[in-house]
Symmetry: C2
Subunit: 326 residues, 2 copies
Amino acid sequence: MHILITGAAGMIGRKLTERLVRDGALNGQPIDRLTLLDVSTPSRPAGFKGRADCAAVDISDPAAARTAVADTPEVIFHLAAVVSGEAELDYEKGFRVNFQGSYALLEAVRATGGYRPRFIFASSLAVFGAPFPPAIPDDFCTTPLTSYGTQKAMIELLLADYSRRGFLEGVGLRLPNIVVRPGGPNKAASGFFSSIIREPLNGQEAVLPVDESVLSWHASPRSAAGFFVHAAGVDRQALGPRVNLTMPGVCCTVAEEIAALRRIAGDKVASRIRREPDPLIVRMVAGWPKRLDPARALALGFRVEASFDEIVRVHIDDELGGKIPS
Amino acid sequence: MHILITGAAGMIGRKLTERLVRDGALNGQPIDRLTLLDVSTPSRPAGFKGRADCAAVDISDPAAARTAVADTPEVIFHLAAVVSGEAELDYEKGFRVNFQGSYALLEAVRATGGYRPRFIFASSLAVFGAPFPPAIPDDFCTTPLTSYGTQKAMIELLLADYSRRGFLEGVGLRLPNIVVRPGGPNKAASGFFSSIIREPLNGQEAVLPVDESVLSWHASPRSAAGFFVHAAGVDRQALGPRVNLTMPGVCCTVAEEIAALRRIAGDKVASRIRREPDPLIVRMVAGWPKRLDPARALALGFRVEASFDEIVRVHIDDELGGKIPS
């Protein structure tokens, strides 16, 4: 099996690549080829025995998109995107990459004719815009309040239409907040959800810019990779025409997250969180989906951690070698 | 006031033009200029005293779109589209006109910079796809089952984002089945909703291809024009970020429509309907929205006929000089 991953150098792209290499197979078929694309060249996957092509590519260039699918990869994981904040600040860049880049890739598949790959698209809860019901159902309207969410929702629509017309077999995954992200602090407004766990475990102070009562929807990087792998095998008939799915998550408050950290790592670690409200972040977070009702994804077998404790433990296992640094 | 209408030669475009010329003003401002565009040159509006520019234009050509807004019309009614059936049969043409044409027009407005017209977009109930709840609420998901509906839903998303970013003041109108359409029978799958009223009133036989129990959502051509005029004056604050609105309609069965015709025009006229089921039309109609709950549009002051009797009378008044041909 030949698998293409766009955005392969990003955090989820790397987690997904590692998972595929470790599994060695997808949908019961051995993986003999990986094509890994990103704006900067992804690193060669360690331990992979098959052919790996790693390249720096701008998929919003239609010629590059055609080249990417020229060898007809059976499964395409399309993760490449300009992040939310950047798409809001630079409207043209966001539209070019998030919409036109995705459209170019879809069109490249269609142009091959008769080729019908499984096409897994990284969508986002940002397709939803406040006000929300207490739990957002699968049939809730997509009325985004960011250009990022708009671009993702537009591609969701195309993905469903291309699937219905038989150009490809699309599945769109609306990902939860992914925590705990490995690496250092970043500038994303959602970054604190990871840093309040990651930094204290590393002996560093983290800043909490919102109230502890803030509710959010989470999954680990390990679960995110799992969503993509599972989506590759989901039954088309069971999926039906509504191919874009809200992924399951763990719904909890910041207070509950800190309590989980305290249970697992102790008071000293949990005390390394400094409260420093940031009105801009408070306002942005208030507009994000908090609780969802991902009934369809659960029925289709998508699974996530059972608690935030488990999310913290996944981070310790996968990033800290199973040990809390002393 | 300068008003631009795309799709001005179509049925609703003509009704809207007539209404604007008759009113002589929009939002309390005298109309001194009309730009009427379509793929074939719209006719000069009878009785209009101001400047009227009528031209054949392909708005999916970005240069043509820029020319269309170069003189910064204060209100743009964007009705141009390839119809549902054609967009399904010719995917590329549908996408080029319905998506790329609308996008070109939106982009032409954005490119002018600082220019912020009211932009009224003709959307469709085809943005919804079965299965439906008993009455489709305003916050129901847009999961279309046609390429036409997909293209309309994508432009709805852009319209909302362009409004949010201040590039324009968008309002999207999801139009009901418009009946009774003037003119002869056409090939649209929904054509029978008009022909079972229009042809019998003209002494001709009409074919009913579906069961009389079929439920549908209707408004007259007069109401359709009224929706566009009303949308031009809707308060931006009251509208909020969800700028795409399901229009009110009259919900009734085919049996109720025939009963209305019988009440108004008598048994002899109503007997000119021949039942001849068409499995393709039966299947298509089964997937269409039947009953909606247009709470937001009603709260914003959009109005429609109170009954199907009224819709029949509007047709007799507007198309038959107020008299039933004997």
